[in-house]
């Protein structure tokens, strides 16, 4: 606990353009939003930098706006704002529930949506102090050459463990990214990549500025499996949304986190028609989730338990929404 933060300078730009310019001038600069993950990483020697670019002074990132196209949530909006915002609680319940399930209240008061979506992947061999990792010869993700989870493999399997991404994905979110060449938009699901050491598609010099949600159209839920109920990263988490087709069938979308190096959408086995016996449908849904996820030995809890519990939880949420 005697670690000292690296000797960085703190820059506090007032606009997104200034922040982008700063990042592009400084190759080793790191972005800091609420700092609830980044400062831990700096303290543990998992990130190094001479320049920290804080996003806290950029007012434009902190707005939740209702537009004709739906809802725009700025990347700097805090998770406490999200869990309390009535438009989100009413129209996108999974998003509010996911926000409420992140860390503790003192974290959520400063932790941002952008920081959560850009959260680093996690692993028991990685999220440790410097001396712990050093005594274990580090690992493939950072400074070492072997993965202790899958020693035969050549890629990092660390698990994406942010709670917000799946809740936004089941509502069809897109994200807006600002960079030196202007802004671009892409579906949130396409932002991620199945590689624990390089899981987000963000170039140096780019900033996530907002998430866009279409108008509310589905009831949704989010829940997670964790070791401690009061504060913990998800061992696995699932968001389920349920919309009605014109024929009255239930159409589900399902996204999971904590099981892979990226949050992922699950291929759902068709719609659940009205007045049909649902048991076969839910059994197929449970199987589909088990097939989609691939939890690894990145937590102290067995992968098999995470696979079974997340598929059971998916069905529980789907039934609740039917």
């Amino acid at each position: 606990m005697t670690e000292v933060l690296p000797n960085f300078r703190l820059m506090e730009p007032a606009t997104v353009e200034e922040a982008v310019a700063l990042l592009n001038e400084t190759p080793d600069a790191l972005l800091c939003a609420g700092g609830t993950d980044l400062v831990v990483q700096l303290r543990k020697g998992l990130a190094e930098t001479g320049t920290l670019v804080s996003l806290s002074g950029i007012a434009a990132l902190r707005e939740i706006e209702v537009t004709d196209a739906g809802l725009r949530i700025g990347a700097g909006v805090t998770l406490s704002q999200i869990e309390r915002a009535q438009v989100i609680v009413d129209g996108y319940r999974a998003v509010a529930k996911a926000a409420r399930s992140v860390a503790g209240p003192a974290h959520r008061g400063v932790a941002t949506l952008g920081g959560n979506l850009c959260l680093d992947t996690r692993c028991v061999y990685y999220n440790q102090s410097h001396w712990w990792r050093k005594s274990n010869d580090f690992c493939l993700k950072y400074r070492g050459d072997t993965c202790h989870v899958a020693p035969q493999g050549n890629r990092c399997r660390a698990a994406f463990s942010g709670d917000m991404a799946p809740s936004l994905m089941v509502h069809g979110a897109e994200i807006e990214i600002a960079g030196p060449k202007g802004t671009r938009r892409l579906p949130l699901a396409e932002f991620y990549h199945e590689d624990g050491a390089a899981h987000i598609r963000l170039e140096h010099g780019e900033i996530l500025v907002a998430a866009h949600l279409p108008p509310p159209g589905a009831a949704s839920e989010y829940e997670k499996v964790r070791v401690r109920g009061s504060i913990d990263f998800p061992l696995a988490g699932v968001a389920v949304a349920c919309a009605r087709t014109p024929e009255g069938a239930a159409r589900f979308s399902v996204a999971v986190t904590g099981t892979n190096s990226k949050p992922l959408m699950v291929d759902v086995p068709g719609d659940l028609p009205p007045h049909s016996a649902p048991e076969a449908f839910f059994a197929a849904l449970e199987k589909a989730v088990q097939k989609a996820v691939s939890p690894q030995r990145t937590t102290t809890i067995a992968p098999h338990y995470r696979r079974l519990s997340i598929s059971a939880l998916t069905v529980r949420l789907a039934k609740r929404l039917t």
Binding site: V40, A103, G104, P105, A106, H107, V110
Partner: protein, 156 residues
């Protein structure tokens, strides 16, 4: 890099040259001799360093002092006034909400933040407000009772 930072701690204005990488918990403990906020973990896990920044509970071990320029910081040392314990402190003392005491400053500051927001919390409100504060001694029951008693006292 250093900068001059002016902030208010427990009602007293402080102006100092602060390195950009100085954590608030280290500033309070090492430079202000306010050792009430504890450093109980590697960062963000235990809540023992909880203080109020502009009235809201914050983890001082994850907060850069330089980012607190112009804010009002309250620590456990600001609770007692004129030699008298605050309502929360007295309630923790009288209801065995404190044993070894290591978590207590963080618990009390988190509870202070809760009571300002919600003077009449139920047990679930208290549990979620203290979600990030860990205690190795009490088992939490007495802590929750202490906050209930303090809330009732304060409402009278």
């Amino acid at each position: 890099m250093k900068r001059i930072v002016s902030l208010n701690i427990n009602g007293r204005t402080v102006e100092e040259a602060i390195p950009d990488n100085l954590l608030l918990v280290d500033f309070l403990r090492e430079r202000q001799a306010l050792t009430g906020a504890k450093k109980g973990c590697d960062g963000g896990e235990c809540g023992a360093c909880t203080v109020l920044v502009d009235g809201h509970p914050r983890l001082s071990c994850l907060t850069l002092t330089a980012s607190c320029a112009g804010t009002e910081i309250e620590t456990i040392e600001g609770q007692a006034r004129n030699g008298r314990l605050s309502t929360l402190q007295r309630a923790f003392h009288e209801n065995l909400g404190t044993q070894c005491g290591f978590c207590t400053p963080g618990m009390i500051m988190a509870a202070e933040g809760l009571l300002r927001d919600n003077p009449d919390p139920d047990e679930d409100d208290i549990k979620s407000a203290l979600g990030g504060n860990l205690c190795r001694c009490t088992g939490y029951v007495k802590i929750i009772e202490s906050i209930m008693v303090a809330a009732a006292e304060a409402r009278r």
